[in-house]
């Protein structure tokens, strides 16, 4: 239920409009979209685990809930950097596949968004990690879907003023319109 809810109903990109930058940026080709999706799932799951720990053990006990955004940005940015370096060293094949996307995720608001939502919800550790994982899957699903459409649009011949990002935005809007059909499918508490 949580999975369906996060993937379809409250899709990060199409419903919450989080992570639009990579959604538009790396959706030109299906292969890169798949790579990006994989990287996001990977990072988001780990990041939510780490931020949950920070929030739970470091910030909340000290009554510092109000600075968690600041702390999370710091943690996520360095975490991504660290994963990048570590992966290059220990998992070169995986780095070759996902490496170029990792720096892009540093500034992906979807990762921060997931951490924030978890924080606001006060979910338990397992739940927040799973939610982030599902949300990342939803992001990846939307990204792959969108890249499929954009690959098709690569052969289209739109008017000059709509070429490129403008067309992608219109398409994204229509996709989000279609996804509205899912509303109410799963009653999520948030």
């Amino acid at each position: 239920m949580l999975l369906i809810g996060a993937v379809l109903v409250n899709n990060f990109v199409l419903n919450r409009f989080l992570g639009c930058c990579p959604f538009l940026g790396v959706s030109k080709k299906m292969d890169t979209a798949l790579g990006m999706s994989g990287a996001v799932v990977f990072v988001m799951t780990i990041a939510s685990a780490v931020t949950w720990c920070i929030d739970h053990w470091l910030l909340s006990p000290n009554g510092l809930g109000y600075i968690h955004t600041l702390a999370f940005i710091l943690v996520i940015a360095s975490l991504v950097q660290f994963i990048d370096i570590a992966m290059k060293r220990f998992l070169p094949p995986l780095h070759a596949a996902l490496g170029i996307f990792l720096p892009l995720i540093t500034t992906n608001c979807a990762v921060l968004g997931a951490a924030e939502i978890n924080c606001k919800q006060g979910s338990a550790f397992g739940e927040s990690v799973f939610f982030s994982f599902a949300a990342a899957l939803g992001f990846g699903f939307a990204l792959v879907l969108f890249s499929g459409i954009r690959e098709k649009l690569a052969h289209a011949d739109p008017p000059r003023c709509f070429r490129g990002i403008a067309l992608a935005l219109v398409t994204g809007g229509l996709l989000s319109l279609a996804f509205m059909g899912f509303s109410g499918l799963v009653k999520l508490p948030y």
Partner: protein, 331 residues
């Protein structure tokens, strides 16, 4: 000084030099012909407002198409009749009593935003008529869900009523397994009879009520080989199987009411936004049916058909990618 040109040139083109003589405009004309029975049925049941809605949508679509092409400085594509088909399909997916200015807005959205922005016919990722319907449903929720009673012009006491779909939705609300409860029984009794459903004597959109007229149109399209059986059969079969498994309203009611018939035969079979191969079409039809029923049962809208097709439109490129034909002789 220019040398003398040869008076008459032969046409030079790559082979083949023969053609099946089919054309895009002929295909579109066939679709229009196939939609005539259901248009007529809609006009019979909903009277003059239906005429006005159809006329407005078709005229606005043609005008928008012409203006867009003019603005883009490209050759006009009105001749291929695709704008007429879009206008007609949109009108048939609207309730008869909708204010005409909304119909105009929807038509402009269909052609302008959902089609010409992408470069016109063949390029749009979403079915223009359905995108416009979804847009209107969200923007003008009230008028889009106010239904004229069929044959209201004969019995002018009550003008509007609830659709069978809303009744069926209530069936899901009660416990499906215990459908004998008085509440469910009541809702079930209020459903139109099977005969009324076939003929179209029930509230709904102009073109979706008469299942018989839609079936005639679909048979014509199949006969003319404009569409293949894959999408309609997969779509309707999924709806039937789902409703048998999940309970709720009887399967025939799920198929005959709402947009399933027009969706399966005319909207989901739109070439541009559906997969190319037979296998892909089966997957596509299955997805449409499944999503449609999921939204009907769980979603916040009573009707999921147009959203289901729109979502599957988005998935179509993926399906296409994974159902490529295997070349003759390839391993």
């Amino acid at each position: 000084m220019k040398p003398k040109d040869i008076a008459e040139h032969f046409i030079l083109s790559s082979s083949p030099h023969a053609h099946a003589n089919s054309s895009v405009s002929r295909i579109m004309l066939d679709v229009i012909i196939a939609l005539l029975p259901t248009t007529a049925a809609g006009i019979w049941f909903f009277g003059l407002p239906a005429v006005w809605t159809v006329a407005t949508c078709v005229a606005t679509c043609i005008a928008t198409e012409a203006l867009c092409r003019l603005a883009m400085k490209r050759e006009s594509t009105i001749g291929d009749l695709s704008a007429v088909v879009t206008g007609l399909l949109l009108a048939l997916n609207l309730p008869a009593g909708i204010p005409l200015w909304m119909a105009v807005a929807g038509s402009v959205f269909a052609i302008g935003v959902a089609k010409q922005v992408f470069g016109g016919i063949g390029m749009n990722p979403f079915n223009p008529a359905l995108a416009a319907r979804a847009f209107m449903l969200i923007s003008f929720t009230g008028p889009m869900t106010t239904w004229l009673k069929p044959l209201w012009w004969r019995t002018p006491d009550a003008m509007t009523t609830a659709t069978p779909l809303a009744l069926m939705k209530r069936l899901y609300a009660v416990d499906c397994t215990a459908s004998a409860t008085p509440h469910a029984q009541h809702a079930l009794e209020k459903l139109p009879s099977l005969c009324d459903m076939l003929v179209g004597n029930m509230p709904g959109c102009i073109g979706e009520v008469s299942a018989a007229a839609l079936a005639i149109g679909a048979a014509y399209l199949l006969f003319r080989k404009v569409i293949t059986w894959h999408i309609p059969v997969a779509f309707i079969a999924t709806v039937v199987v789902y409703s048998l498994v999940a309970g709720g309203a009887p399967a025939y009611a799920q198929v005959l009411t709402g947009g399933v018939m027009i969706g399966a035969c005319f909207m989901a079979t739109d070439y541009v936004t559906s997969p190319t191969t037979s296998a892909g079409k089966l997957v596509f039809g299955f997805g449409c049916g499944l999503l449609c029923m999921l939204i009907r049962q769980f979603g916040s809208y009573p009707e999921g058909c147009s959203f289901a097709i729109l979502i599957m439109n988005a998935v179509a490129p993926l399906i296409n990618r994974w159902t490529q034909p295997k070349p003759f002789g390839a391993k």
